[in-house]
Symmetry: D2
Subunit: 257 residues, 4 copies
């Protein structure tokens, strides 16, 4: 299967993972490893910036694993820019997953502030991956503003509802010149596989692994599903023929008569 | 992952495959091998019963692969019983996938004739796997009649539409005392993974592999997706929370203020 | 809009209603009237056959309203035949809605017993409307057995989930020579309208009216939705063009340049 | 049913209609009348601003019908502001449906330019109804910017695919302090009814009526469906119980034993 390149990094794995909601950092690290993920989001607000050896970060010192700080919790572009700069200091990376959601109930992203922050951060040399609604025009504008990839949502964060936005993801994938990473709502390996079959470049999964009965096994299951979906995309899936007639078959006349 | 037992056979792979619609028998055999499938359906009507070395059967002499003759093309229980007996002679197996569809357009199975044939064949000692509509009561009656497994459809044969019957499959899986093998309509690895995540015991895939751009790679993709789905089922998927509110997050007050 | 004929009766309304789950018989009767329904199911087991003036039946003495006894609660064909004969005595009609469900949990219909009872009752001169799974082959066999109409389910009884079986209903409607009445699972006027738009001849609604906040207003809402759906079917709906491109529009060059 | 107020106008009908794609202006006017619509969109680019008696506008001189000019074809906020001012001159109304879509293929709305134009036009005293993606945060920001209502899309314009965005519409309706008018993709009366059942304040329909076999009858069908959906919303629909068990029924022991 082909590799994925975003900005200056090349990935073998197309499964990005999150680090929230695990019952322990040890379990989180084991699940990340079983998933084969090479890019792992870390909520800046969950890192103790003043402790030299933060427990979360210590557990993420896994060979081949890159950190992707996210700005979860900020409400405006200027807060996001400030948080991103802090993250660079604390985590030593100029990559950022931009999450700006003024609403604490559904955590839906703000399109206008996200575009503004993307423009500013891209100019400052950051590698920006904005999390956004599955809005095809917004994705094009983010691309023009310098986003290294776009991260449209499949369904509300934490809902595990899968690709409710599939018709819009299809348009985004068709039009995008930067990688498309489907984020939020992926609640089962089958959802991840579907995104990859449609031609998404990668998926980000958090809750479905962290909240599983066995997160380590679930990480492995997602790894396989993402590879299966990508392999199917590259192998050329046959068309879905809704309402299609079955091809007529001749009865067993040869040996029944 | 746990193994699957049907009647007297135990399978490591939970992916059953078909042999129709491939562009050559060579390609079919390669795809079967890459899929890891250990049970392969063969349409009796496609086998030349009078030739000692039928080309299809020669290609299926693969270690670990069992044949499952199907009765595709028969229209009544009595035709099915006769065809099954022929198949035992020709293929040397007492297993049969029962397919009785009087309608040549949509190839929908006949519930009444299928039940009748299942009763007769089970009494004659055959291992009967009936292909049927996703009808929960019919599945129970087939089980009582001696079916070794039930094979409810996901959507019309060849439609690649996935699990349109998912709500009924859920009931069937909950109630069944014999293995449930989802058949027909599985058009992508994500569909196969979804069936496994729901707790189906196995899936049968044909068109989606045979009609793929690269059937050998697609066979591999389905193999991984089925394993991913089963692993997720065993690892315990978190609940789907439709319309669920995101868990509130506290703003970045710690370092923004 | 065209009228609907089943056996010897002609209906202006294509909305059939049930009488269960209402908080009172008075409310039930008012809701039936506001719905405009001309065919109303009555569970035989809910009628006190020994009382000359059963309260339920007294309330259903509404001009233009015909009774359709149903056999809900029976488990076999022979029980159904017996119950139907009782119903003829008690209610003075040779019409029957055949419901045979051995399973008390999901109330799924039994295809084999239903076909058997339909054959017997049709021979005895009854007007039989069997309630069944959305199984296209079974529908054809019931038609051949003498059913006056077929009543495939949209989704499990009482689930209010709408037309989960839509792809199969489409095939049934295309193939049927007797009226198709979609029954069970219709939980909102939009579900009823969709069934009519697809070409169903009528729908049966019970829970969604009976369990509404205001059953009388809900009866009226269903009446309008059924008429809207039928009118749309007759007026010719435009095709659904999934993934269709919007027709290109020329920019406002005329007055912007 | 309750009336709908937007800015300074009160409507009895909750069905807004479009005027494009009809085979003649005569047919358009007849369909508008049968639909009962009191607010009708007119694409500014289709009006001949220099002719005193434009044929389209002449046909729309229907008592009770208000014009809603739309800016279809503009690509930026400044073009939209200019077009809206022209529309006020030409059509004598300060209402405007804001449509800004830089992409001529899918006609997806631009969130950033739409917000900017809404701000400017609201300050200038216009009654602004912006057409946008079903983005909950954007809807709140438009409301804060002075939009008189928000018009989120159900699915791509002209696709007739219905409410693909239903989970997001649900959040928008829950959060909005201005009326929510579902626009685009409503391809059948059942789609319109569903939007109303969810609590949308109104719907806008164009293609499904204009491209119908009989647009006048289809207009009537939509009128009834919208009323049915609203009535059901006000009457209190019972909950959808997915996967719900049917309520157990007692067998017919009373008269079968």
């Amino acid at each position: 299967m082909s590799k994925l390149t975003i900005a200056d990094k090349t990935f073998t794995s197309r499964l990005f993972t999150g680090t929230g909601k695990f019952s322990s950092n040890r379990l989180m690290a084991d699940a990340v490893q079983s998933s084969g993920s090479e890019l792992v989001t870390v909520a800046l607000k969950r890192v103790d910036l003043e402790t030299p050896h933060d427990d979360l970060l210590e557990h993420l010192k896994i060979p081949g694993v890159n950190l992707l700080p996210n700005t979860s919790g900020v409400r405006t572009a200027s807060e996001a820019v400030f948080a991103t700069q802090l993250a660079r200091e604390a985590l030593g990376t100029n990559w950022v997953k931009l999450e700006i959601h003024p609403d604490a109930r559904y955590l839906m992203p703000d399109p206008v502030e996200t575009l503004k922050a993307t423009e500013e951060l891209a100019k400052l040399g950051f590698v920006v991956l904005p999390y956004i609604h599955a809005d095809p025009v917004l994705c094009k504008r983010l691309e023009e503003a310098g986003a290294a990839a776009v991260m449209p949502l499949g369904s509300p964060i934490g809902s595990n509802s899968g690709l409710l936005t599939r018709e819009f993801l299809r348009i985004i994938i068709e039009q995008s010149n930067v990688p498309v990473v489907v984020d939020a709502g992926i609640g089962a390996p089958s959802h991840a596989a579907e995104a990859m079959e449609m031609g998404a470049d990668a998926v980000l999964v958090n809750t479905a692994i962290a909240a599983a009965g066995n997160p380590v096994a679930m990480g492995k299951a997602f790894k396989m599903a993402v590879e299966a979906g990508r392999m199917a995309y590259e192998a050329g899936l046959p068309m879905v023929s809704k309402g299609a007639k079955a091809s007529a078959t001749s009865p067993l006349t040869s040996f029944l008569s």
